[in-house]
Symmetry: D2
Subunit: 356 residues, 4 copies
């Protein structure tokens, strides 16, 4: 890039995305009031109440699923607060949220306020600026993130890992490198590492991690780290077996939604008793009329034996607006008080020993 390009790039990457802090905004009275309205205000309110019920139910393990570009959009703080307060016990996510966005920020990089208007994507390409709708990312930063994953690969014993195991190593990497001390406290990967909250990314190579892994396997054809997606599924099923009562809070649909619902059936396949998910809330803008999973109703999931229909709610809203409201409601109700730190990572490590 020449000098003009550099200054143009600087001009475009000025203002950084700030993560919203639900602790500052007590939305309880407003969300309660919305419960006597109609349409999505009422659904949002009911969704918040069901998410709060999951917190009140101390037996209930809470699964959080993440799809879409949530971290780059300013929702990282919401998720970190849920983790810190034991409000979520396991996470299933797309790779972008965990690696390209959360781990990326933990390395000290930022997302930038951009725009979708009057922008030439060919120009952005030349400037090495990646666009997510109205947000900009410095591709040069992202390449460092890819390379860091490759570096972690090189440091590990060469064997199959579940994505959870690998992501825990990413957490360990952050913990052991004090140059990230200023950034890691706000990181999902790091906080989950500290609290023993498992993070599953069923399509782990479909993100920045994939670039690091491809680099690693290409240069180590004979013996290398591999990512065993079946092990992911086995491990998350073990979480369900370890804590049968469960609720799910789904942001978007996609693979994470399907994956976490399927564990009820997986228990059955293993001839183990496990109840359907007792609580389920999904924030989505997807439509049910294309028959795809992302917008499929939670009632439909009941026909599959995955989700019970007593406490389920679809909330048709975009996540950047709805997630702070629902999570903030439960946070300010303080029902998380008294919830145990479940540390499923510890349980999964033990289970492994049992089977070994």
């Amino acid at each position: 890039m020449n000098k003009n390009q550099n200054s143009r790039k600087q001009e475009l990457l000025q203002s950084t995305i700030q993560h919203i802090d639900i602790k500052q905004h007590n939305v309880v009275p407003m969300i309660d009031a919305m419960g006597s309205m109609a349409f999505q205000a009422r659904n949002l309110s009911r969704g918040a109440q069901i998410f709060n019920k999951m917190q009140e139910d101390k037996e209930c393990a809470v699964f959080l699923t993440l799809a879409g570009s949530l971290i780059s959009a300013g929702l990282k703080g919401v998720i970190v607060d849920l983790i810190k307060n034991n409000m979520v016990d396991a996470i299933v996510s797309t790779g972008a949220n965990i690696v390209d966005q959360d781990f990326f920020e933990a390395l000290g990089f930022k997302h930038y306020v951009g725009t979708q208007y009057g922008i030439d994507d060919q120009e952005l390409r030349e400037l090495m600026i990646d666009r997510i709708y109205d947000t900009f990312i410095d591709e040069e930063d992202l390449r460092i993130c890819d390379a860091t994953i490759g570096e972690i690969c090189e440091s590990l014993e060469k064997r199959p890992y579940s994505s959870r195991e690998f992501i825990r190593e990413m957490g360990r990497y952050l913990a052991e490198n004090d140059k990230y001390a200023d950034y890691r406290e706000d990181s999902i990967v790091y906080q989950c590492y500290k609290k023993g909250v498992p993070i599953f990314v069923p399509a782990f190579s479909d993100c920045s991690a994939g670039f690091g892994l491809v680099h690693h396997q290409w240069h180590n054809p004979d013996s290398h780290v591999s990512i065993d997606s079946a092990k992911d599924f086995l491990e998350i099923t073990k979480v369900k077996l370890a804590n049968p009562e469960s609720g799910i809070f789904m942001i978007g649909g996609g693979v994470p939604k399907n994956f976490v619902q399927d564990i009820v059936v997986a228990c059955d396949i293993l001839d183990k008793e496990a109840p359907m998910h007792k609580y389920a809330v999904q924030i989505t803008v997807a439509d049910e009329r294309d028959g795809a999973l992302s917008g499929s109703t939670l009632k439909e999931a009941c026909s599959w034996g995955k989700v019970d229909t007593v406490y389920e709610q679809m909330v048709w809203a975009e996540a950047t607006i709805a997630m702070p409201l629902i999570a903030g409601y439960a946070y300010h109700k303080k029902s998380y008080e008294g919830r145990p730190e479940r540390n499923f990572n510890k349980i999964l490590d033990k289970k492994k020993l049992q089977h070994a």
Copy 2:
């Protein structure tokens, strides 16, 4: 289930889904006429023309991505015809389409015309009928499909497999069991096996295959088949390196869309020259305004250096309507004539040797 339930179940599972046959419907004049209209008719027409351009360009490898419940909805025949006529050279899909739906039908099972109205999903659950919007599936059949995957696992050498390798074994299983002779000819998995068309499922455990694999790994804790999702990414990158000029025809978004776009960047990470995808068509009902990948524009993908903007088209339509029209257009233009059978599976096997 008691006798009443059995007869109720039979009553609900009467009429089977029939796959549409694009060979019977010459839509070329209609789609051409739509090119002089506006809105989605014009977009559909342009999308069809770009897909046809991919066929005319004999250097171009065509990637097909599949997300949503497409096979259960009657689109299997469309895809099989594309494969048979060398109109697609590699497939990236969600697991449900390939395992729960295509392989499932290859075993002799069917999907049923159902309804989303006046149905109690709790009752369906008790009858072991799974619902996909307006379609019914016999869960008892699906359990046999899960078990068949488990059986295939047991028969394989215990090592990490890419999903492609595993799916090829599924094809081999169909080829070697003549009891499926009546069903397998219409199967994507089987036809791809025969033609050497690789199928990648980056989140392979997120489907019926996952149930089989979990069963397998649970009962074989020490030594087992694993699914290496990083290997998937490496292999599909090798396809791009083997045939640099490429086009993508995307049905829905999700992981398959992201995965196939990322290979351009992966080549760069490996310091190999590879052009952006030259042609790109996506059929989707997703909206770009939530910033998620499924609805993100192909222009946005250009900022990431993944897709060129000369021949790209988003078609905002539901796939059951739009896919037969676009695929049918290209089929009846006969531009596939003279296209080589690329047999990327053979190339990937060789590459493996190179690295071993």
Copy 3:
């Protein structure tokens, strides 16, 4: 505008929108095949079959409702063919379709193929080019259309008119001015004038007609033409009373959808017996989850006593794709043969006498 602007304008307004001709495309076998698929292909097929049932039922008066920018998008020919073959007996529309677009083209003007990308709307404004998504209109032409409406106002007796009466005068204007002979044959307004098919535009001033009327009333403050929207409602109710059995084919939602459904209740208010609409098909991309009318289900309309639920179908698709398929299906089934020319305009004129 200076010379450069003129040549830029000419450059942008080159290619004209062409109306699709359903007579050229026999879609019957394809639409029938879609009936055994799922999701919207099946809904589209069922919608086409119900619209065809309306044709077969010779007692049934067919109401067509039009919302959205349909004429400018290339659907005028579809509608004209329905009128010519007695396949619709009354039309309820937004003003833009009837005045700004159909009447506009009948005056000899055209819509142009445009684009939504890389266009500066401020520049378009300076060039007097109006944009509808990917379509361009010459604002200078539109001003002539506004003025023509004003001219018609001046020529009329000064009294309240229903929109139907006014639109019939627009048809008469076309019939009496042979300079429009080349264009009027393809016009909805003109063909309805000839066949006595009433056109109602309940928000008549909300379009180019409004500009003409405002000009007229401003310059004739004491005595002027007025548009009585209550009379519209009374007249369309009389149509229902004159022909109690009815079906509705709705393109989009909005005021036309509500208006035509309400006439069943209006009959009841007048203590007249009239059945609910027996057949109802709506093509829409609207969602039901905001509680608004456009996306509200036809089942919901049954709770209001407006639409029966035996033969009703929502088709979730964009109109430029779905309308030619549904209308084309019924056209090629030829069930319109033997349908009478109902000429409701004649009946409404008589009714007026009865009351006078």
Copy 4:
């Protein structure tokens, strides 16, 4: 209805919709925080800031447009607070919001919390319960509302009225009947009557008012009240001429959105100078990709010369969630302080004299 039906009806109509009170919820810090996020949170925040700018700009007349079922959904209180604090100066609405819902509640009737699940719309029909998605209405109450409109018609001088004039008579009716004293204070129609805020309903017969008017005209064929929709357009144009600087806050799209944008062009048609709308915010879930007006961008409206592009924002969210947040933001910023009571009704009455 028999006794069983009556008790079933009572059971279904138990819980009433409660209107949210924005005065109780200071959302300013949260909405400001959302301004540094991405996607719709940022758009919502910017929309709120632009609506607040309209308040700060004391020269600016604020037009509020209402489409969708807003009053029945619990948004009446929001709108009444905007009126009381001079935060809106004119309203353009669909008929349902103003007559069937607001005036209806001013007569002492209520909307009920209902459900869209497990409900048989045929049963609702027999019980005379009307459904709006998840909300129930007693059709017997609605018939009284229809009849009240008919009664008002009978009491008026027989001449053409603009919808504004007629709605003002509805306000007067509430003011003069003390039996409504308990309900009318919370009514849009009544508060606008008191403050001189004009309400325009361009498709006035497309609602409960239509039923009353049809009854009136049917029984008074020779001399009757009529609703002149052209006069509506002329009057609202005069509002723009009286106060050229303007902003629009649009809830949903439809006829109200189009109508209020068109007045800029109408001024031009009358050879009067009037600037484009300076500020524009639209809350909508409509999509731009069908080319229809409801989802068309405000940038597109600039090509038509209707809306300036400096302060415009589309907010993609459902109104029950987004409207309290945007209106609440501006309310708690207190920028409405010092805004004059514009009383456009008084100005329109004077204008009338000028022309007479």
